[in-house]
Amino acid sequence: MDTTIAAIATAMSESGIGIIRISGKEAMDVISRIYRSKGGKKKIKEVPSHTIHYGYIYDKEEVIDEVLVMIMKAPRTFTGEDTVEIDCHGGVYAMNRVLETVLKNGAQIAEPGEFTKRAFLNGRIDLSQAEAVIDVIQAKNEYALKSSMNQLRGSVLKAIKGIREEIIYHIAYIESALDDPEHISVDGYGETLGKAVQKQKEQIKRLLAKSSEGKMIREGIKTVILGKPNAGKSSLLNMLIGENKAIVTNIAGTTRDILEEYITLEGISLKLIDTAGIRSTEDIVEQIGVGKARETAKDADLILYVVDSSMPLDENDEDIMKMLEDKKCIVLYNKTDLKAAISQEQIRESIKHPVIPISAKEETGMEELGKQIKNMFFSGEISFNDEVYITNARHKAALEEALSSLELVENSIEMGMPEDFYSIDLMNAYESLGKILGESLGEDLVNEIFSKFCTGK
């Protein structure tokens, strides 16, 4: 608990105000590095505890945000440690900028549940709450671990794995030579390694640039399109993304897998997921698709339920409506271009979610849908996972660490240090990148040495 931690304390949505919380021994140092009062004279480190201060957050000479800073010194704080809360402007982008600045200036991103854990360990939370604390930690960690890997784009994952593989090869080479100098020589390896490290550094820098643009992680409101076969789900998807990605036919049950697309609607990012139509079926392939659709719907942030207005409701619709009872959902009354078999009122009677008439074929109703989603988002009814940003920050920190370790390797090479010094920092770089993948050095090195290099008596 010697580290100073920080995280976004409010929900990650387009709310008016966001709060960044910092806790730990160096909390006051961190804030004094980035806070400036309006006149620039106030020394934030010297203000009395439990006071609020107006000013700006700076990253070097750049103003990041206009804020209120709350100073709370130990022990009368939530965690029992020195705590600073920064009230900044709400919105994903603004909050992230402030958090990143805090992290750059001496704080580490908090582990899931860490504020609560510290509060407990410092005796600020009652003993009877220990179990609840444990539950929070495990649940949050499980989620973070799952999402951490899931959210990484495939190409990013591949790049990180590739860099790690190269790094461990070099470590293994150096180490096997040190271990068995009479079999393997590592003399003059600095030159070879220098080139490799240069390349790896560039790769990591590219990844970091991507992460700043938010491209490293898949993000957006997870929006699942649901409906019975041939209700027009794929046509809706095509209309939303504006190209013929999903195969559209009039044969019921054409979409048998899950299709994913990213779009921006009224400035809000949506991760659109098209699914197979839900109905009871004998076709095994289709059954799998239907099963997947149900699974996907379970952890959706928002569901777009497409109803074919030209057909009467049947047992498949009843089935779906039941599933949607406690979900965030918009019902799309589709095929307004055809003669209606059921009315909008009939649907409103059977389901409590908003209903919007559209025609996917004629591309009408889009504006209504956009507005509805925007309303739901800003009212906080739907939001996306804040863990996305946490993991992004975590990944970034790990990449930065790896980069500085590689810089130390370069330093050692330039200074003409003996080869054994190189591998020390290479190992640190390998470990840092491993944090992103949830892997550590462990036996990796020994395995690499024995599988790649022939040593021994």
């Binding site: 179990e131 040190l178 020390i424 008596k457």
Partner: protein, 629 residues
């Protein structure tokens, strides 16, 4: 039934490198110690390579010496060639290796044992451990004699149910055809101890007078010999050294091997034990590294008393006739006579996770174990564990706190922690890459690191301990001085720098800054350091290393600080992991199995996540708070 019944404090089973250190430590700490061996003639036997030390193993020997063990002193008395490996590399990986006169090594060690008060050597096979209420009470021999005691140290090496194999022939013997110990395993199993079966191997020995050395490269020892023991005066060991020889296998050798692979017990499935990957047989190398068209072969003398030469790099379990062809295909060995065939050996050992870091069994009070029996390999690894087990058996009987070394204190700490914490599927060998703080754990500062521990345990006397205290003080004083010595950009200085190819000074600087330049060192700068005091060579060495690598050393010290915090969070022994709601099942099972002594150790168990550690910390907090209520 009439039987011999005796009493003593400590029984050591086995007289190899672990057994010797264990018995000596026990006896030197004043405990009545009996060491059992199946053959008194095999005390401190070196059944495989004829050398002590080598990369990271040299560190272990130095540490054993610093703690008050015997291996370093014994090899200083009996070496016939010595080499400091990796001299062109950083000080952390310098490692001493000495060729031993095997027989002299064995004889000298036996002499030391025989002349140590409180120590009795007994020939006999132990067949049973006597345990009452989870506490060791004694041992029983093959002849039914009973020795009651307070602690037992198992150092059975490769002898338990040992089987030697070459080709399709196998023999139930220990190494070198010595008698195996066939009964003890069953007794251990009946006590609930989980056993593994491991395998290792050794190359052939060849008659030196049948070797054509003109076809080989001669390998000399170092000009200036550095001793292993901190107590040995370097001047007393500058001996005439013997040479080793280097030759290579070739395509013909590999072809012979490939043609006979079906007769190798490794590939035919006749060997069930798990062998070490770092010490592959020549057939393994040929198969796994098929693109290499030659492998090095080191011809090393077994001693001054004999013509026998060890063929390093060509251990094998192929049949005798194939071995004959194979060795003869190597340049210089065309007409060589094989004295002893290469063989593989299989033996029983334990899953070492059943041990505490003190090397005492978690579930049997007073039972300790060390060496190959714990799943390690190597003479040095064995000696290191033997010493720790011996010290702890004695301390326990004396009612004192037992000694443990952690990963930041010694290679021995890394070795033992790896054995008792990590899953181990092959004989474990020390490697410098396993030591995360290796810049701090150098062979040159083992005395500074560990004399105190040895002194506290009682193996290091007052005078020796004070000597290291004075040394430490002298080093610190000189470092301080050097950091503050100002060096001006005068002519004398520039000339000296120039002579070392070092950039001339623009402005004045400190002596320390100059020492940090790669091409310079403490000694080289003597001419421009006018007030330099006269210091011992080993003090100068420490000053140089500490200043030169200051930045790296400080970084590792910082990491150690973090590490120590987790190590010092002890887990109560009676903690019931099943009661901890919120631990994942895998973590709960692993923690139950390993019963880690600290949060640090728990965090190194595979399958225990950082979140599990958080949960554990919170539970412990709750637990101690409730205790207080």
């Amino acid at each position: 039934m009439n039987q011999l019944i005796k009493n003593c404090d400590i029984v050591v089973i086995g007289a190899g490198h672990a057994g010797c250190e264990a018995a000596l430590a026990g006896a030197r700490l004043g405990l009545d110690t009996i060491m059992f061996t199946v053959s008194v003639d095999s005390i401190a036997l070196m059944p495989c390579n004829p050398n002590i030390g080598g990369s990271s193993k040299g560190h272990l020997v130095k540490e054993v010496d610093a703690l008050g063990g015997e291996m370093g002193k014994n090899i200083d008395k009996t070496f016939i060639q010595s080499k400091m490996l990796n001299q062109s590399k950083g000080p952390a990986v310098h490692s001493l290796r000495a060729q031993a006169d095997k027989q002299a090594y064995s004889t000298e060690m036996r002499k030391t044992l025989e002349n140590t008060p409180n120590l009795t050597i007994k020939q006999g096979e132990i067949t049973e451990l006597l345990v009452e209420d989870g506490k060791i009470t004694g041992v029983k021999t093959f002849s039914n004699a009973v020795y009651y005691c307070k602690a037992v140290i198992l150092c059975t090496g490769t002898y338990l149910k040992a089987r030697c194999i070459y080709g399709d022939v196998s023999n139930y013997t220990g190494p070198n055809g010595l008698q195996a110990a066939n009964y003890l395993t069953d007794s251990l199993k009946s006590l609930g101890i989980e056993m593994f079966r491991f395998k290792t191997g050794t190359p052939a020995r060849i008659d030196g007078k049948t070797i054509d050395y003109s076809k080989m490269e001669e390998q000399f020892g170092d000009k200036r010999i550095v001793p292993f023991s901190f107590s040995t005066d370097p001047e007393t060991i500058q001996i005439d050294q013997v040479s080793c020889w280097l030759t290579y296998t070739n395509e013909k050798t590999h072809e012979i091997i490939r043609n006979n692979l079906d007769r190798s017990p490794l590939y035919s499935g006749m060997i069930e034990g798990t062998g070490p990957r770092y010490c592959p047989s020549i057939e393994d190398k040929v198969v796994r590294f098929a693109d290499k068209n030659r492998h090095q072969v080191f011809i090393e003398p077994e001693g001054l008393y004999t013509n026998e030469m060890y063929v390093g790099g060509m251990s094998s379990s192929l049949p005798e006739d194939v071995q004959d062809q194979m060795y003869h295909s190597v340049p210089g060995l065309e007409n060589a006579t094989i004295v002893r065939n290469a063989y593989a050996i299989e033996y029983d050992c334990i899953n070492p996770r059943q041990l505490n870091p003190t090397l005492e069994f978690k579930n049997i009070n007073g039972l300790f174990s060390a060496g190959q029996f714990n799943g390690s390999s190597g003479y040095e690894e064995a000696a290191a564990q033997g010493l720790v087990a011996g010290i702890n058996a004695a301390l326990k009987i004396q009612g004192k706190e037992m000694m443990t070394l952690d990963r930041s204190e010694a290679y021995i700490g890394v070795l033992i922690d790896d054995l008792v914490t990590k899953e181990n599927h092959e004989p474990y060998r020390m490697m410098t890459s396993r030591a995360e703080y290796r810049l701090l754990l150098r062979q040159d500062n083992a005395d500074i690191r560990l004399r105190k521990k040895g002194y506290e345990a009682g193996l290091i006397d007052q005078e020796t301990y004070e000597k290291v205290l004075r040394k430490t003080e002298a080093i610190e004083k000189e470092i301080k001085r050097v950091e503050h010595v100002h060096i001006g950009a005068n002519e004398k200085v520039q000339k000296l720098l120039e002579s070392y190819g070092s950039t001339p000074l623009k402005n004045g600087t400190t002596l320390a800054e100059l020492i940090r330049r790669p091409e310079l060192n403490y000694k080289a700068l003597e001419p421009i350091d006018e007030e330099r005091p006269k210091l011992a060579w080993d003090v100068e060495e420490q000053v140089n290393i500490n200043i030169k690598y200051d930045g790296y050393i400080k970084r590792q010290l910082k990491q150690v600080e973090q590490f120590k915090k987790l190590e010092s969070r002890k887990i109560p022994e009676d903690l019931d992991y099943k009661q901890i709601k919120g631990l994942r099942i895998e973590a709960m099972q692993k923690l139950e199995l390993y019963q880690p002594v600290s949060i640090g150790q728990a965090s190194r168990i595979s399958g225990v996540s950082p979140a599990d550690i958080s949960v554990l910390l919170i539970y412990m907090e709750q637990y101690t708070k409730e205790e207080k209520h």
